[in-house]
């Protein structure tokens, strides 16, 4: 803990201070209290692009063209200028400071989508060790509710072609592509895919399959496994050569078999009395058998290299993004042994206790990526935990509260910004106006304040998303704003979109 709040004093203290073992990075992050974005350039003159985000290592800024067909990548740098003679601190910034390219250097623009395809603006995953980016293009969505012959299920729309592109961000070379035909993957905010180290899992909702792909260093996307109808690689061969399956009947999908057998064994062992077992089984298992069979995979994530956490639910909840608090289930599946390890309902108290105590492990990244380990959550931060417990005590019904919390599991990969300005041990900010999760929010006229935790009366910096002076219409139109924080520089882009008006981009940085 630094003894003083003054930057110079802290620098001198850093020379002689030995932090407690393992906490050196936590201590030096306190310097971000002194280095904050203090100056705003309103309505910076930038190209008309929709900016997506800064990559998690801070090397690239990703944007898409307005027609959703091109990818534009910039490298963030910093303004530098010189002045003659004495340079007082209060000197105005040169006109160079109002230009976008003083801060960002254009690297390349490539066209990812062909004529009838569009880049999905919300989808982007960054493969950290190799500096690759994963993008998705798709054709238009067709709400075809009829199930086709080859195993697609009812109720899920179909997209003619979804292509995942692996691009090397250093120079813009498209390394590999993987296409899915007449399929549906939930691309909004990268929910349908999860990246763990070099393993990528993509959930195909229409065919109820989880594709596990490996990203090689050479840039190839290699399909490692396909879980859904079959669990092991040679299941399909075995069944076709041995089973005499009449055309009418069919086997249940492999993963459903595993799930049902787990539920059966669990229900069988719940009842101690042998004579009552069959009754118990009838009541708990066979009564709900068809409901279990009708469950579909909604979302999946890696817990480590061999285990998947899969969320199951009913057909109508899989595609829609509404926060429907209906029934859903979680299953932990071991890919190597093809066993279902556990199975919980979304209102389960045990599952909630794991959520409360071990939430950081749902945000699973390998230990090599440093920045992801400092994202604040209620597991690693006492202030966030207090907030959670406050909400828990204020909520009327505990099971409703648990269901609401379970909506955040499985975790959506790379959805939290690693910027230290969101660190709850350093700053306090209004969660509804701005947060680490990159979603559009309704913007307010008032600036968003970031208050230092240690000095509760001191506002360290403010971010005012609107145009200077409130905008031409006096702020009556509905505005949506989004914020892009650089992972380690005091540089923030705030983008405000108003209906039927040009987008306003502001740049906030430390002078």
């Amino acid at each position: 803990m630094f003894r003083s709040n003054n930057l110079t004093a802290r620098i001198f203290e850093r020379q002689i201070l030995t932090p407690r073992p393992g906490t050196s990075i936590n201590l030096f992050r306190h310097f971000y209290e002194n280095v904050c974005p203090s100056h705003t350039v309103h309505d910076i003159d930038c190209p008309d692009l929709s900016f997506r985000k800064f990559t998690d290592d801070g090397q690239f800024l990703i944007g898409f063209s307005r027609n959703h067909q091109d990818l534009v990548v910039y490298r963030p740098s910093w303004l530098n200028y010189s002045c003659k003679g004495e340079c007082p601190y209060s000197l105005d910034l040169p006109p160079k400071a109002r230009r976008f390219d003083s801060f960002f250097r254009h690297l390349f623009t490539i066209s990812l989508a062909s004529a009838n395809e569009f880049i999905c603006k919300d989808f982007f995953l960054y493969v950290d060790p190799y500096r690759f980016g994963l993008f998705a293009t798709s054709t238009a969505q067709v709400n075809d509710n009829a199930a086709s012959a080859d195993g697609a299920i009812h109720g899920v729309p179909s997209i003619e072609k979804i292509t995942f592109h692996l691009v090397r961000l250093d120079d813009g070379v498209v390394l590999d592509e993987k296409a899915f035909y007449n399929d549906f993957v939930n691309l909004a905010h990268s929910t349908g895919a999860f990246l763990y180290d070099d393993l990528l899992c993509i959930v195909s909702l229409r065919y109820q399959t989880i594709h596990i792909l490996q990203i090689r260093e050479s840039g190839n996307l290699v399909e490692v496994r396909r879980i859904g109808p079959y669990c092991q690689e040679d299941d399909e061969l075995f069944l076709q050569s041995h089973a005499q399956v009449s055309p009418g009947s069919s086997f249940l999908p492999g993963i459903k078999q595993r799930l049902l057998s787990f539920i059966f064994r669990k229900t069988w062992n719940e009842e101690a009395d042998q004579s009552m077992r069959v009754q118990h089984l009838k009541k708990k298992f066979y009564f709900h058998f068809q409901d279990y069979v009708d469950l579909i995979i909604w979302k999946a994530q890696f817990l480590d290299r061999h285990h998947l956490l899969i969320k199951f639910g009913s057909v109508d909840g899989g595609v829609s993004r509404n926060t429907d608090q209906g029934l859903s289930f979680f299953a932990v599946y071991n890919m190597e042994t093809t066993e279902v390890v556990t199975f919980y309902q979304n209102s389960s108290e045990e599952m909630y206790s794991f959520f409360e105590r071990f939430y950081d492990f749902f945000n699973s990244v390998s230990r090599n990526t440093l920045h992801a380990q400092y994202i604040s959550s209620h597991t690693n931060n006492s202030h966030a935990l207090n907030q959670l417990l406050n909400i828990k005590s204020k909520s009327g019904s505990f099971s409703q509260f648990v269901k609401k919390m379970m909506l955040t599991i499985p975790y959506t990969c790379q959805s939290h910004s690693p910027s230290p300005y969101f660190d709850l041990s350093l700053f306090r900010y209004d969660d509804k106006l701005i947060s680490a999760i990159d979603r559009h929010r309704h913007s307010t006229e008032h600036p968003i304040k970031f208050i230092s935790l240690r000095q509760p009366n001191v506002v360290k910096f403010k971010i005012k998303p609107g145009a200077e002076g409130g905008g031409p219409d006096g702020g009556r139109a509905k505005k949506v704003s989004s914020f892009l924080f650089h992972p380690y520089l005091p540089l923030v882009l705030s983008i405000q979109q108003t209906y039927m008006q040009p987008t306003v981009v502001n740049l906030h940085f430390k002078r």
Partner: protein, 146 residues
């Protein structure tokens, strides 16, 4: 070890000797004398093994109390005070290797709960509680003190 008065006395004696043996034609060379005295002192220090060797020092009697380090001994190889335990209850098993558990704590919890769920529950729950939970712990009194 010579004390300061002894050194001073010897110094005085040496000066007297040199004074007596001085040739009448020799000039009274005070510096020559002081050099000789200095040489004697240095030799004395060397005999005593000064830590500073023949480094120049303001007062040669400084650091005269220190014993020199044995040049063959490494300072890092100091033998620590050895501790002999009086019992063998805390001895680790032989050939023990400590490694990091590959499953993270969340997965370990899932597996643990799963084992509980799948274990057949019997009516004789009372007898289960007699089984020790931690088989690694040994009750006191079974091992005689070493």
């Amino acid at each position: 070890m010579a004390t300061r008065p002894q050194i001073a006395a010897e110094k005085k004696k040496k000066i007297e000797i040199t004074n007596k043996t001085r040739h009448p034609y020799q000039t009274n060379n005070a510096t020559k004398l002081s050099h000789k005295v200095r040489e004697i002192e240095i030799e004395r220090e060397r005999e005593m093994g000064s830590l500073l060797g023949d480094w120049p020092s303001f007062d040669p009697h400084n650091f005269s109390q220190l014993r020199p380090a044995d040049p063959t001994a490494q300072p890092s190889k100091l033998t620590p005070v050895t501790y002999h335990p009086t019992h063998n209850r805390t001895i680790p098993p032989p050939n023990q290797v400590i490694t990091t558990e590959s499953k993270n704590i969340l997965l370990r919890q899932f597996y643990q709960k799963s084992e509980e769920q799948l274990r057949p529950k019997t009516k004789r729950a009372a007898s289960e509680s007699l089984m020790p939970e931690h088989s690694c712990k040994q009750p006191r009194g079974l091992n005689s003190d070493a």
